[in-house]
C-alpha cells in the first residue's frame, strides 16, 4: 500500500520538524517527508489541507477490562475508542479480572489485540501477584510473555520492604516500573480530595499529603536499586517537585499527569457528580494550577487520559459506591488542545507530551515522522469545533465529566504501520 498525504502541516516532536508539506508512506514506513513528486505512484492520495499530521498518540494507561466481564467495555470497544482519539499505542492496565500477573493473561491480551489490529498494545504486568503487594510476581516469565513494563495500577505497595525487593528484582530485568504513590493508611478510604469541600459533602477525604509521603518513600527506595520509575498520574505540585528533585540527583524517575487534573478540580464534584470521581482524586484549584505550571515548565513527561470506562450502571451508584475513573481516551487530544488555547503550551509541546514523552517514560521506541520511521500517525483538524456528547463515543464508558464542553480538534485519520485504522 502506497499513500500520499498532500499539503499537510507535519509536526514531529521527535526532531521539532514543523512545515506544511507532503508525506508519503510506503510499506508501513515514512518514505518521504517533504514535497512528494507529482509522478509518485500511490494507491491513495489524501488531501491534508488544514490538517496536522503528528506521530500517533501514546496512552500510558488504558483500562480495557480485558479480561473481564465486558459490561464496562472490552479490548475491542476501548481500542476502537483509542484509535478514534488518534492513539496508536496503548499500555493496558494490569488491574483486570483476573489480574495480569500470569503469562496466560498477557498472551490472551496480545492475541486479542493482534486479531483486532487497531492500536498497538503494550501489555503491562503486575509487579506483585494480584497487585496485593505481598509477593513478587514471576517477572521473568511475564517479560518473556511480552510485558514491557511492570505496574501496580492504582495499588500502592503497602510494605516498604517488599517494594524494595520488587524494585531491585525488576531493575535486573531493565524494565521500567509504574507506581501509584500513596500512603495507603493516610489515603484510607477517601473518595475525593480532603478539604473544606469533602467536609461540606460529608464524603471521606483523601489527603494530598498521602501522595507526597508515598512518593518520597517510593523514590528513596527506587534509588537503592536504580530501578527506572514512572509515576503516570501525579496530582500534586509537591509530588511533581519531588520527581524533579530526584531527576536533578540523576535518578531515573519520570512522571505524568492526567488531563483531568489539568482541567478540573475538586469543585467539579459539585453535588456528588460521580463522573468526577477519579484516582488520585481531583485536587484543589491551587494544586491544579501548580500542575499546570509544572507542565508549562517541562517538569512533566507525559499527559494521559487515564482511560477507565464504566458503563451506565455506575450512574445508579452513590458517590461512595461508584468505582474511580474517567473514560476519555477518545477526547484526549481535544482536551489537551485546551491547554494550548489557555496559553500554557505550544502545539508542538502538547504533542510531545502525548507521544514522545510517554514513549521515553515507558522505554518504548521513540515515535517519529522522519524518513524510515514506522508510520504510526494521527491526522487531525485542529480547527474543527464540536460539543462533546458522552453518549456518542466508541468507548463503552459513559463516565466523563466533559458533557457539553465545547472543544476543538477532530481526528480524521489514524494510521498504524501505514494502515488506516480510523477515518473520522
Amino acid at each position: 500500500m502506497r499513500r500520499i498525504i498532500r499539503n499537510v502541516r507535519v509536526m514531529d516532536p521527535g526532531d521539532g520538524f514543523d512545515a506544511v508539506t507532503d508525506l508519503a508512506i510506503v510499506a508501513g514506513k515514512i518514505a518521504v517527508r517533504g514535497a512528494v513528486a507529482e509522478d509518485f505512484r500511490a494507491d491513495e492520495i489524501l488531501d491534508g489541507t488544514g490538517l496536522v499530521a503528528c506521530p500517533g498518540l501514546i496512552e500510558s494507561s488504558l483500562q480495557a477490562h480485558s479480561p473481564g466481564h465486558g459490561r464496562d467495555g472490552d479490548l475491542a470497544s476501548e481500542l476502537q475508542a483509542a484509535v478514534a482519539g488518534g492513539v496508536t499505542q496503548v499500555v493496558l492496565r494490569p488491574d483486570t479480572q483476573p489480574v495480569a500477573d500470569t503469562p496466560a493473561v498477557l498472551r490472551e491480551q496480545q492475541l486479542l489485540a493482534e486479531k483486532l489490529a487497531l492500536a498497538r498494545v503494550q501489555v503491562s504486568a503486575a509487579l506483585t501477584t494480584g497487585l496485593q503487594g505481598q509477593a513478587l510476581s514471576e517477572m521473568t516469565a511475564l517479560m518473556d510473555a511480552g510485558a514491557r513494563v511492570f505496574s501496580q495500577a492504582k495499588q500502592p505497595v503497602h510494605s516498604a520492604a517488599l517494594l524494595r525487593l520488587a524494585l531491585s528484582y525488576a531493575a535486573d530485568l531493565g524494565l521500567p516500573v509504574m507506581l501509584h504513590p500513596e500512603d495507603p493508611e493516610l489515603a484510607a478510604h477517601g473518595v475525593m480530595n480532603e478539604s473544606g469541600l469533602s467536609l461540606r459533602l460529608g464524603l471521606p477525604g483523601r489527603t494530598a499529603v498521602a501522595e507526597q509521603v508515598g512518593i518520597q518513600r517510593d523514590i528513596a527506595i527506587a534509588a537503592l536499586s536504580g530501578c527506572p520509575l514512572f509515576f503516570p498520574h501525579l496530582s500534586t505540585g509537591g509530588a511533581v517537585a519531588a520527581v524533579k528533585a530526584a531527576r536533578k540527583r540523576g535518578e531515573a524517575v519520570r512522571c505524568g499527569v492526567s488531563i483531568h487534573h489539568l482541567l478540573l478540580s475538586e469543585q467539579d464534584v459539585g453535588f456528588f457528580n460521580v463522573h468526577a470521581k477519579v484516582l488520585p482524586p481531583l485536587r484543589s484549584l491551587a494544586e491544579r494550577d501548580a500542575l499546570r505550571r509544572a507542565v508549562a515548565e517541562g517538569d512533566v513527561a507525559a499527559i494521559s487520559s487515564d482511560h477507565t470506562p464504566w458503563g451506565v450502571d455506575r450512574e445508579s451508584m452513590t458517590f461512595i459506591q461508584a468505582p474511580f475513573g474517567i473514560s476519555a481516551v477518545e477526547c484526549l487530544l481535544p482536551l489537551t488542545l485546551r491547554l494550548v488555547d489557555d496559553g500554557l503550551l505550544g502545539l508542538m509541546a502538547a504533542l510531545r507530551l502525548l507521544s514522545t514523552g510517554p514513549a521515553q517514560a515507558l522505554g518504548l521506541p521513540l515515535p517519529s515522522l522522519q524518513v524510515g520511521s514506522v508510520a504510526d500517525l494521527c491526522l487531525f483538524d485542529p480547527e474543527a469545533a464540536f460539543t462533546l456528547n458522552p453518549a456518542s463515543g466508541a468507548s463503552r464508558g459513559r463516565n466523563l465529566p466533559y458533557a457539553q464542553w465545547d472543544l476543538r480538534g477532530r481526528v480524521r485519520y489514524t494510521m498504524v504501520e501505514g494502515r488506516v485504522v480510523f477515518r473520522g
Binding site: E194, S195, G196, L197, L199, R200, L201, G202, L203, E266, Q267, D268, V269, G270, F271, F272, N273, A276, S284, L285, D313, S316, M317, T318, F319, I320, Q321
Partner: protein, 332 residues
C-alpha cells in the same frame, strides 16, 4: 477553600429548572425566604397538635414512603406521624444495607415503588449523596426529603433546631451558637451550620478535639475551637452532638471518659456560656459522655421541645413540597 469559591458543579438537584424547591436535600443552598416560609408554616402546624382532631386533610390521597436504609426510630416515627397528620398514606420500608448490597440498586428500589404511584420519599441512607442520586433520578415525578445521608446532611433536623432557637432563644440574627462534639462525622452539624448562616447567625462556633473538629471546617464559615471554655464564652445557644462509639475504634479518641473530661457538658461548664443559654441535642443522648444528666434534664435543655417542633417542621416541609409538586407557586 473558602465558601465563595464553591460553585455548583452540576446544579443543585433540589430545585427544578424554574428554580422551584422540589426536594429537600439539604439546608445548603436554601434561600432565606424559603427557609422562613418553612419555619412560619411550622408555627401554624404547632397549634394543630392541641386540637381534638390532630389532623388536616392537606395531603389526603397522597402516598409517602419512608425508605430507611439505616435504623432510626425517632426520625422515622416523626416523619410517619407528620405525614399521617396531613392525612397522607404512609408506607414504611426498612431496607437493611446487607440486603441492598446483595443486588437491587437504590434506583431499582425506588423505581419499583414509583410503579405503585407513590408521591414522595423520605430517605435515610448511610452514604452521603444517596438522596441527591434519587432526586436527580426522579426529577419532578415525586418529592424527596433527605432524612439523613451518611455524614452529609440532615436538613429537617437542622430546620427544627433553628425553629427551636428562634422560638426559645430569640432572633437568630443576634445569637452566638456553638456546636459541640463530633462535627466531622455529623450530618446534623453540617446542616445546622448552613441553616444558621442562611438565617444570618452572626457567629457559629464548632468545638471539639482536632480529630473530630478539623481546622478545614472554617471553610464552612465557622469559628473552630479546640478548647471548650474558650468556645463557650458568650454563647447563647449550645448544640450538643451525639458521640458515636465507633470513634473510639478509629482511634479518633482515647476513650469516652477522656472526651467527657474535655468536652462533656456539665452544669459547671454551662456557666462559661451566657446565663440561660439554651442547650439542644438531636438525640439519642449518651448521658455522661457528651452531656451530663444534670444538663440534659435541667431547665436550660430544650430537647423534648425539639421533638415536638420536629413534628411541626416536618409537616411544614411535606406540605410545601407537596404543594409545589402540584404545579403550584412556591411563593418564596
Amino acid at each position: 477553600m473558602s465558601f465563595s469559591t464553591f460553585r455548583f458543579g452540576d446544579g443543585n438537584p433540589q430545585y427544578d429548572a424554574q428554580g422551584r424547591l422540589r426536594h429537600l436535600l439539604n439546608t445548603e443552598g436554601l434561600r432565606e425566604p424559603e427557609m422562613l416560609q418553612i419555619l412560619d408554616t411550622a408555627e401554624s402546624f404547632l397549634s394543630i397538635a392541641q386540637r381534638s382532631v390532630k389532623k388536616t386533610p392537606t395531603l389526603r390521597g397522597k402516598t409517602i414512603v419512608n425508605l430507611f436504609f439505616e435504623n432510626s426510630t425517632r426520625t422515622r416515627s416523626t416523619f410517619e406521624l407528620a405525614a399521617k397528620r396531613l392525612s397522607a398514606d404512609v408506607l414504611n420500608i426498612a431496607v437493611s444495607t446487607s440486603s441492598a448490597s446483595k443486588g437491587e440498586s437504590l434506583i431499582d428500589t425506588v423505581d419499583n415503588l414509583m410503579a405503585m404511584q407513590v408521591d414522595g420519599f423520605v430517605i435515610r441512607h448511610p452514604e452521603a449523596g444517596a438522596a441527591h442520586l434519587i432526586a436527580r433520578h426522579l426529577g419532578d415525578s415525586a418529592l424527596v426529603i433527605n432524612a439523613g445521608d451518611g455524614q452529609h446532611a440532615h436538613p429537617t433536623q437542622a430546620l427544627l433546631d433553628v425553629f427551636t432557637i428562634r422560638r426559645l432563644a430569640g432572633p437568630i440574627e443576634d445569637r452566638v451558637v456553638a456546636i459541640v462534639g463530633d462535627v466531622l462525622h455529623s450530618r446534623v452539624a453540617r446542616s445546622q451550620i448552613h441553616a444558621l448562616s442562611i438565617l444570618g447567625c452572626p457567629e457559629i462556633r464548632v468545638i471539639g478535639p482536632q480529630t473530630l473538629v478539623p481546622k478545614e471546617l472554617s471553610a464552612l464559615g465557622v469559628h473552630v475551637y479546640h478548647d471548650l471554655q474558650a468556645g463557650l464564652r458568650g454563647v447563647n445557644v449550645i448544640c450538643a452532638l451525639r458521640l458515636q462509639k465507633e470513634r473510639m475504634e478509629s482511634h479518633r479518641l482515647p476513650s469516652l471518659d477522656e472526651f467527657h473530661r474535655r468536652f462533656g457538658l456539665t452544669p459547671e461548664r454551662l456557666q462559661w456560656a451566657q446565663p440561660d443559654a439554651l442547650v439542644l441535642h438531636p438525640g439519642p443522648m449518651n448521658r455522661g459522655v457528651e452531656i451530663a444528666s444534670e444538663v440534659a434534664d435541667g431547665h436550660q435543655a430544650v430537647i423534648l421541645q425539639q421533638v415536638a417542633y420536629g413534628l411541626a417542621v416536618r409537616m411544614a416541609v411535606l406540605t410545601l413540597l407537596a404543594g409545589a409538586a402540584g404545579g403550584g407557586e412556591n411563593h418564596a
